[in-house]
Amino acid sequence: MALRKATTIPLQSGAADESSALESLVRQLSGPDVEERRHAARNLANRPDAAAVLVSRLAQETEPDVREAIATSLSAIGGREAVEGLIPYLSSDDAALRNTAIEILQHLPADVASHVDGLLANPDPDLRIFAVNIIEALSHPRLETWLSDILRNDPHVNVVGAALNLLSEIATAAVLPAVEQARQRFAGEPYIDFACRAVEKRARES
């Protein structure tokens, strides 16, 4: 017994390349065994036709490791079906599900961009804040425009605060008129005035 060179790759008997048939994986995804569910979620990362199933399962899954694997796979798959399935979760009472949905959507900039206007027009201010959380990760030419529109029009102080917070990282001189409008619209809010000054300072440095 000693050090020896591995002559074969250490395969687990029967585990390599187990049938990746969609039906079988979908069945495992909702089975009783946690490890099987996690494996199924991982293996479905290469199956774009599984997006809807994964989105649906995400809301039912209670095991954090499996939920994490589903989120990773959905982030890899992306696409319209995934995004449209996840957006309703932003209104969920389940904070973990909501945060997971935000996290996945942050990784899908190309697929999410066309939904941003709709999210920012939603009557629920919490959902509009989540939309700001999502767009903060997007590299999109309309980013400043979306944020400026919030400063000009959004009626809720917390949504405007979230937008200012993000602008304090990225603002250019183009947003200064919108910043001034936000200050005037929320003249009685010391936090907004403070955040406006931070954005103005950042914009003038650019």
């Binding site: 000693a2 250490p10 490890e35």
Partner: protein, 282 residues
């Protein structure tokens, strides 16, 4: 081009962004070091100001600048017996625990990824030969993988500079290496022959699906270069490659707890490592 100015606010923004990306936090005392390296990268990237550079990092980098920046702000040099406390932990703690679950004569598998030019897997081989008293009771296989085929070729050749072997005890250098002209040293064939090298992309399931029943993984200073999703996929891959009860060693600035909840943190006297639970509840 003049040296870019990095204000206090810039420094705060930058270290928060760097922490979010890599898990590495710079205290205020590191300000001078960070400013210098950051300024160099700003100029090298062709950006005229911190602000422009920050925007590139935040939104439009394809990964190349992040890699250059992480290289500039971390010690990424590889050499024999680097972070040797983890090797001590291997022989004093992890292997002792693994051996309890093996039958005499059983196989123990250790996987080094990324193996780069071979310093880490060969260090493991030397350390086990010299320090693990139970080596004679088991067959130990060392697997070594990297995505870079040129690095793998260098590893197989086993020729190293004096700098690369500077932390090896003198007696090991004399015992396991042959001096070459030009202040270089070649690892003896006997040791080179114990390590199985392979080309692997850690986030490609086609590459990694075959690796199973690994007892210990050394995956140091690799995950800091990945984006969030790739990092999590890599963690899941490593988890699936490990045997139940197997261990994973990360670089000193890395934390699996930030990446995945799959592993259990283990504090041994020599090092903190992560373990795949032996059993999971159904």
């Amino acid at each position: 081009m003049p040296e870019p100015c990095i204000s206090d606010v810039d420094f705060t923004m930058f270290r928060e962004l760097f922490y979010r990306k890599t898990g590495i936090w710079f205290e205020d005392g590191k300000r001078y070091f960070v400013d210098r390296r950051l300024s160099e990268r700003i100029l090298a990237s062709g950006k005229g100001s911190f602000r422009q550079y920050y925007q590139k990092l935040r939104w439009s980098d394809n990964g190349a600048e992040w890699q250059a920046l992480i290289n500039a702000l971390t010690v990424n040099e590889t050499y024999f017996f680097r972070e040797v406390h983890q090797f001590e932990c291997l022989v004093n703690s992890m292997l002792e625990e693994i051996a309890q679950h093996k039958t005499p004569g059983g196989v123990i598998r250790i996987w080094s990824i990324p193996s780069s030019s071979g310093e880490e897997p060969y260090s493991l081989a030397i350390y086990l030969l010299e320090k693990w008293r139970k080596l004679s009771e088991f067959d130990v296989e060392i697997l070594a993988s990297d995505i870079d085929t040129e690095a793998l070729e260098r590893a197989r050749a086993g020729v190293y500079s004096a700098r690369s072997v500077q932390y090896l005890p003198k007696e090991y250098l004399l015992k396991y290496f042959t001096p070459l002209p030009g202040d270089q040293y070649q690892l003896n064939e006997e040791i080179r022959g114990t390590v199985a090298f392979s080309r692997i992309n850690l986030v490609d399931p086609q590459d990694t699906g075959m690796f199973q029943n690994i007892d210990v993984v050394f995956c140091r200073n690799l995950l800091i270069y990945f984006d969030d999703i790739s990092r999590r996929r890599a963690a899941e891959t490593l988890y699936d490659a490990l045997a139940p009860g197997g261990f994973i060693c990360l670089g000193h600035s890395e934390s699996m707890s930030r990446i995945s909840s799959l592993f259990t943190l283990r504090r041994f006297p020599e090092a903190i490592v992560y373990q795949k639970p032996i059993r999971r509840a159904p």
